[in-house]
Symmetry: none
């Protein structure tokens, strides 16, 4: 059927109306307050008499991979795909756009500490189109080298990076030998994480140090 990419507007997950309400409230709460709600705050908002009502919905949302959380920790949500407005979108100026700086060369450090000289252009992507979070400081990188050819990312491509912690399977921008490169982030339960180049001719593995991973790749842009 439709085997679309993981992030897109074409596959609407079939959320229950209740689950949709919960999700919307969580997003809205974060948007208005700057932090995520607690379970009991959600409970109170919907008038539930038990936190279990919320727990059930959260579990469902997590199973549908719309939500992510950190077990046992308070107010640590992560929403994988922003909610699509059910109303037809106004393509006017109302459209919220993420403005992404394109960094030419970030050899070291975090991109927000790199001087503007490193910026060689701008890329603007609609939120709904790509599932970016407007609050994060997304940026774009130009790929050098062939280390990711097996992931269909080639020299000269532009990769949109969202700074955040990586999870197993993510493609990350990693700082190795003073140069930013793309690697696959592998973390199996009970084992230390490592980085792997997606090129069968260079099957190197790299250890993950604290300052290594700069962010997670969210999209690829290639000029033809």
């Amino acid at each position: 059927m439709d085997n679309c990419s993981p992030i897109n507007l074409f596959t609407m997950k079939d959320l229950t109306t209740r689950q949709q309400e919960i999700l919307t409230f969580i997003e809205h709460h974060e948007w208005r307050n700057g932090y995520w709600p607690s379970i009991r705050e959600i409970q109170e908002k919907f008038g539930f008499k038990s936190t279990n009502a919320v727990m059930g919905h959260l579990r469902a949302l997590e199973k549908k991979e719309v939500l992510e959380r950190i077990a046992g920790q308070a107010r640590t949500f992560r929403i994988n795909r922003p909610d699509m407005p059910e109303e037809p979108v106004m393509p006017d100026d109302a459209t919220e756009v993420v403005d992404i700086p394109v960094m030419g060369d970030i050899a070291a450090g975090y991109p927000d500490r790199v001087e503007p000289a490193g910026e060689i252009g701008r890329l603007q992507v609609d939120i709904q189109s790509a599932g970016f979070s407007s609050r994060r400081r997304t940026f774009a990188l130009q790929v050098r080298g062939e280390s990711m050819v097996d992931a269909e990312i080639y020299d000269g491509d532009m990769v949109v990076i969202e700074p955040r912690d990586a999870r197993d399977g993510d493609i990350v921008a990693a700082l190795i030998d003073g140069e930013t490169t793309l690697k696959r982030y592998i973390q199996k339960p009970g084992e230390p994480p490592y980085l792997k180049a997606e090129n069968k001719f260079y099957p190197e593995l790299y250890p993950v140090t604290e300052l290594c991973v700069q962010g997670v790749a969210k999209a690829v842009v290639r000029s033809l």
Copy 2:
């Protein structure tokens, strides 16, 4: 939240280096993880042996009105940053931006004749980044099928199309069997042009009719 009082000037640089470090870490943590740190997470990051070290700094930051919190609630920070205003940045009017409608399904006809219902999002790309012409009615398509895998364009990718006449070697959006697909446009001197799928398993050739080619692909956008 009215900041009618001219806070800055005074409180701006009044931060201790330690307080600055704390503040930076809090901001950075939210930036990377999407949620605020807990006090003990701050404590651990700085190697404090007591949460009180953090508490003191937080109180100081709150007194200086750089931070806001909600007493007794977890991970509920709010940072007042008088520096870096967010809106006046505006990607200089000098930067010309192409606003591209993303068409979900254009089974027939030219996209500008399709009703707005076909539009499912927008994509904005800087001219410098991709070399688009702002005058043309650029649009974007989502790729279905595997017909272009040998050109490193895969199912689910988004392709930016610029309506114009094709030249030899261009990748074009072509209308075949009532469906828009991507094909390579081949035109050798003295021979009639034809379309070719970039997939060695489907080496079909297609004749070029007048209404066949909708435009030339200029860029690929893929969500990871």
